[in-house]
Symmetry: C2
Subunit: 397 residues, 2 copies
Amino acid sequence: MATRDIPNVDGDGAANLPGFQVELARDEPMRLDSGETIGPFTMAYTTSGTLNADKSNAILICHALTGDQYVVESHPLTGKPGWWESMVGPGRPIDTDRFFIICVNVLGGCMGSTGPRDINSETGEPWGLDFPVITIGDMVRAQALLLDHLGIDQLFSAVGGSMGAMQVLEWAAKYPERVFSVVPIAGAARHSAQNIAFHEVGRQAIMADPDWRKGNYLKEGANPKGGLSVARMAAHITYLSETALHRKFGRKLQARDAVSFGFDADFQVESYLRHQGSTFVERFDANSYLYITRAMDYFDLAAEHDGILAGAFEATNVRFCIISFTSDWLFPTEESRDVVRALNAVAANVSFVEIETDKGHDAFLLDEPEFYQTVSGFIEGVAEHRGVGVKPEQSAK
Amino acid sequence: MATRDIPNVDGDGAANLPGFQVELARDEPMRLDSGETIGPFTMAYTTSGTLNADKSNAILICHALTGDQYVVESHPLTGKPGWWESMVGPGRPIDTDRFFIICVNVLGGCMGSTGPRDINSETGEPWGLDFPVITIGDMVRAQALLLDHLGIDQLFSAVGGSMGAMQVLEWAAKYPERVFSVVPIAGAARHSAQNIAFHEVGRQAIMADPDWRKGNYLKEGANPKGGLSVARMAAHITYLSETALHRKFGRKLQARDAVSFGFDADFQVESYLRHQGSTFVERFDANSYLYITRAMDYFDLAAEHDGILAGAFEATNVRFCIISFTSDWLFPTEESRDVVRALNAVAANVSFVEIETDKGHDAFLLDEPEFYQTVSGFIEGVAEHRGVGVKPEQSAK
C-alpha cells in the first residue's frame, strides 16, 4: 500500500505537532466496521528508541480515551511531561534503550490523526458529525496500516491501559500473527452497562451545550466548552477510587476556614474537578470525545463469536500479561478475570496480576512499584524467549 | 408561635397541590445555619392515619434529594403512585392503621414548601439565587416548627433514606427529646468527597446551561432543562449498582437488532437514562436541585464536635435502627458503621442491619423483604416499649 509522509502540521492548522504524520489508505480507502470507508486519512505518531535491523523490537503503546501519542514527550499544547514517562524511557520497564516505541493518536482523535475536526476533502469543511462512527477495530486496523508503512510485520508487544487495553486485546484477537505479546492493563473485553451509562452522560452534556451546534461548532465559530468540561468532570470521578478521593481531599475546604454558604468551590474536591474540566477543554475536541466514547461503548470482543469470548482467541500463540487494580471500579478486576478465563479455555499463554492499590482506575498512570515490576518482569521474560531486546548483562550470561 | 393555614396552592401558582400548607415563623423569622434568617415561610406536607389523643403516635418520614411529601398519594404532577407505598400504608411496616404519618417537603424544595422558585415578598419576584443557602439542620428546624404547629411534642419515630437519613440523624442529634426513635436508612453522618464531587458535576451541568441565566431563569421565562437533565442522569447512575445495571440492561440494544453507528440511544441503558433525565425536568426545579445538593454537601454531624461524631449523641435516649445495603456505593455500609461506632461509644440503644441486595442505593425504595422485616420488627419493638401503636392482637396478649 502506497503511503506518503505529509508535512508535520495539525489537521486543522492550529498547531505544529511534534512527531510524525503519515497519510494512509491512499490507493484504496480503508473499510470500517460500520460498512463505510475512509481514506486517505492521516495517522499522527511518535517514536522513541531505535528500530533494530529485522524490525523485531517494536512495542506499540495504545493510548486511553483522552490520551495521545505524547508518551514520553512534552505535550505540545499543555507543556506537561509525557503521559507515561514513569513506564517508558531509558531503563524503564518499557526500555527505550532496547525497544523501539511507537504511539499513535487514534483514528477519530484530535492530535493530528484524522478525526471529526479535520477537513473533509469532499466538502472542504470540517467533518463534524459527517465523520463516520469508528470502532476499536477501526482504530487498530488503521494502526496496522501504519505498521505496514513502517515495514514492521510483527510487534514485540502491544501495551495499553483502559481504552488502550481494548485496542491491545483487539490486536491479539484480529492480528494474532502480528503481536508476539500483549499487555492489556485495567481493561475489559466489552464495555459494561455502567460504563456506557457514564459515557452517555458525558455525550448528553456535550450535546446539551447550545455551542455544540448539532456538531457544527467549528463551521460556526463556536466551542461547546461548558458541556465538554462537565463531561470530563463526570468521567474524572470514575477514574479515581473513593478512598483516593477521601485521602486526597476528604471534606477539606479550598482556601477558606469555613463554608461560604454559596455555590463557589468551597471544597477542594470541587475546585480540583473544575480545574480538570477547564484544562481539558483547552486540549480536546468535543466531537472527538463523542466518537471515541462511542467506539468504547461498541467494543465487545465476544459478540462476533456468539457471545463466547474464548472464540476470539482460538489457537492463539500470543503471550498475554493481564493486569488489573483492586480499587478500579470502572474496569473492575472481574472483567480482567473474564478475559483470563477465556484465554485459559483456549490454553493460551497468559499471566494475570491484580495489583493492590487504592488509586482506582488511574493507577495505570501513577507510581505503582508492583505494577512496574510486573510489566518489567513480563517483558524480560518475553525478550529472552524471543531473543530480542535482551538486557546486555543478560545476553552476556 | 402563631401560625396560619394558607390556601392549598403551590407557591408559584403553577398547580394545586393536594395535602396541607402552613405558614410558619410569622412572628419571628427562623434563624438559619448560615446566620441569615427566613420567615414567614411555607411548609407543604401530607398526613395519613390518625393522630391519637396524646399525640404520641406520629412518625415523620423524611424524603430524599428529589423526593417530596407524596409518600402514599399519587404525585400531582406525574400521576405516579406515592414513592414509598411499599413501606407505608395499612398493614405495611409503617402502618397507617396505627400511626399518624407526616411527610414534609423540605425547605428549599419545589413542591409547595418555600424554595428558590417561590416569590420573595420583599422583591415580588422569584428568589432565585437570592434564596439563602440552607442546610440539613435548617430543614429539620423548619420541620420542628411544623411539629409545634401540630402540637406534637415528641415523634414516635423519624424515618428516612439517603438525604432522609441525614435529616433523621440531625433530629436525633439536635432534638433528642423530640424523637423516641429514629430509622436512618442508606445514609451517613457526613457527605463524602466522592458524593460532593458527583453533586458538583450536577451543579456545573445546570450552571453551564445558558437557560439557567445565572439562576434568574424564572424571571426571564427560561428553563435550564438540558443541564438539569444531565445532572439527573449522572446522579441516577450512582443510585444503582453495577450488578443491577448489568442484570437490567447489560449491553442489550433498544428496539433494534444491531448498533446504528451513530449517537442515538442504541443501548437500552442509554434510553433509560435519557428517560430519567427528561421526566425529571418536568417535576423538579433546577435551583432547588442546587440548594438541596448543597445542603447535603455541607452535612457533617461531627464538625461541631471537633470531628468526634460520638459528641453529637452524648447521653442520648433515642432508639436507633440503622440500615444499609451491601451494594450501595453512594452511601456504603462503612458510613453507617461509623455512625454505629459513634453510638456504641456513648452506649446508645442501637440496632444495625446491613441488607444483602444487589440493587444499590435505590434499594431503600424497592421491594426488599428483609428490609421491610427489619423496619417492621424495630417499630413493633419500640411500640411495645413505648406502649403506643401496638398491634391489636399484641395488646390483647
